[in-house]
Symmetry: C2
């Protein structure tokens, strides 16, 4: 059975039936916001899917990882070696697509050829695997400033110019951080094929594009990857740039997730009953900082109340928040903003963040609803 | 001669005559924006002064530094020992008062009892001294997560509740970073008394309040300093909080400088000649990140041009930028915003950043002028 012949539930890769499917091949889907709000750890069947090609089908016993480049002892690791020769570690980490909340940017100005992700291209799981740092150390990695670690996988992206398999890189300094894993478990289950099984990279605090699924090759090298998805895509271009003619290396390469938050309940344009309303959402400070405060406004930012923050479940995960307010009959406008532990907040408006590929929308969250 | 008897140029502590003096005792003064724009390294006579008490008068041979707390070998260091027993290092670092650009917040809503700093409570110098990490290592500092390093100085602050000498703290992880110095030189001169001589702390990337002048005591301890200026002041309170009744520890303790930028030339409300105009300013990414792009708009953010960035002179210093535009007769509105190397920009408006003590204004920079 080829992927293109799959239909109905088979084509959903075990996902919930209420996922918002952005594309079947490559498979791209996000859960409804209310499902994301229901738990701090996202169930595997609700976890967003963001892909650039058909899923490789690699049995664990066939999987191999090569590690080479600026290392003293290039090596090849089997699944058995990875899962038994290295210490195992778990990290609860939120992954987020750089295009999450693109729908708000699209409402400002069109962004041709990019999926209109709403609130759901973000999810949180417990990942388990070996530290990338330990595998790199086993290969005798050189510890020089300015090196980068490239990840390559076999999934072929038709959208790339030229067509090529997926790849990406992160700075060696991040790669050697203890939170970065070569993971083979997700929420205590074997890593599903749809999420990069048998083995994927998990780079907590970075945009999801750097957490390369089905990774089979790692190269330590002097500069960032020349792969399309590092050198040309996943870059923040100025508003006046043309993404079709942008040169490799143009714009700002996306890496750390920015301070951000969102409102998950009530949903966009929800109809609610007047009276007490519990508003729920998430906030994330990005790359190791923590969320210090979340403010909610019902009058478009003139006055604010502080939301209740759930305890931090991990340095690398979102913090869910909630606040109960009294609503009157009529239209309801809810705005939320987060502050990190250094006293920084994010920009007010998607209009000022619009960019040609629609990445990095970390404007204050805003939804409208109506109470009756 | 007592300080209170000083008048005229003596009371200026060697500063330029055109400094904008915010107070004589304690001495607080900022240079005109055009002076800041004239060089990447700020001359000592133009460097901003932000103080909370009269300047201690400590001869080098009398200065002593005690280092104690969670260390194995508490020690006392003389000036001679500090300057000869430890390796010497230089760092070019921008210091900025957390209250820089408060004037724009004051225009939104009053902030009683706080100085209306405009563009000048920020300056850049080359600092030379010993690494704090080396001195802490000599004292046998414990390397435990969560420890803090407190700095105490003899300058007495009448504004503190209760009246107390100045103190502050930083996390041990930052204190052990190579850029943090115990400095005795500023721009190759002996550190002037007005800038903390004979020896001060310099914490690049953090708000200026943590770079404690005239430091005489360092304590490694389990939590942040209980000093007024750590536990009560230099904290970001929510807009609805009352700073007079805020409890110690309330709000967000300020540490890393936020991503920020400013326009230095032309000055506020300048009258210029229509035709080509070179606009100049600075951008700073805060705590070790770098500035990737500065955008300038002449139509209040509808369209943007990219400014020319000067080469980075240090990971810890501002980057000066400039752009030459063509101006027509009439009112001129200039807006600038910066982006860091992770693709993050800062909030649009001071109105959304207003807080009861007026700290951390990192809104997009904006000035108005007129061309004729």
């Amino acid at each position: 059975m080829t992927q293109s012949a799959m239909t109905g539930s088979e084509a959903m890769w075990g996902k919930r039936g209420d996922m918002i499917v952005r594309g079947q091949l490559p498979f791209n889907a996000e859960p409804p916001a209310s499902v994301l709000a229901s738990s701090e750890i996202t169930a595997v069947d609700a976890f967003y899917a963001r892909n650039h090609g058909p899923f490789p089908d690699i049995a664990s016993h066939q999987w191999r990882l090569t590690v080479d480049g600026v290392v003293d002892k290039p090596l090849t690791v089997t699944y058995h070696q990875l899962t038994t020769d290295f210490d195992q570690h778990s990290v609860v980490a939120t992954l987020a697509c750089a295009g999450n909340r693109r729908a708000e940017l699209l409402a400002v100005h069109p962004i041709p050829g990019k999926d209109p992700w709403k609130h759901g291209a973000i999810s949180t799981a417990e990942w388990r695997g070996a530290r990338l740092a330990d595998v790199l150390a086993a290969a005798g990695v050189h510890r020089e400033d300015g090196l980068h670690v490239e990840f390559l996988a076999p999934d072929v992206a038709q959208e790339a110019r030229p067509v090529q398999s997926y790849g990406s890189s992160i700075p060696l300094s991040k790669a050697m951080s203890e939170e970065v894993l070569l993971a083979w478990q997700m929420n205590s289950q074997p890593l599903p094929r749809a999420h990069g099984g048998p083995v994927r990279v998990v780079v907590p605090g970075y945009i999801g594009a750097r957490s390369v699924k089905w990774v089979t090759a790692i190269t330590v090298q002097p500069g960032p990857s020349q792969n399309y998805f590092q050198a040309l895509d996943y870059r923040l271009l100025p508003p006046d740039a043309d993404p079709d003619t942008a040169a490799p290396g143009e714009g700002i390469s996306l890496s750390s997730l920015p301070l951000n938050c969102d409102i998950l309940v009530p949903g966009d344009d929800a109809e609610i009953s007047a009276g007490p309303l519990t508003i729920r959402g998430w906030a994330l400070a990005g790359d190791g900082r923590s969320v210090a405060r979340v403010d909610v406004s019902l009058d478009d930012g003139r006055t604010w109340q502080q939301a209740n923050l759930e305890p931090a479940i991990s340095r690398w995960a979102w913090r869910q928040w909630s606040i109960t307010v009294e609503t009157q009959r009529g239209p309801l406008s809810v705005t939320a903003r987060a502050w990190d532990d250094t006293g920084v907040t994010h920009p007010e408006s998607p209009a000022s963040l619009w960019n040609p590929r629609g990445y990095g929308n970390n404007a204050w969250a805003h939804i409208t609803a109506s109470a009756r």
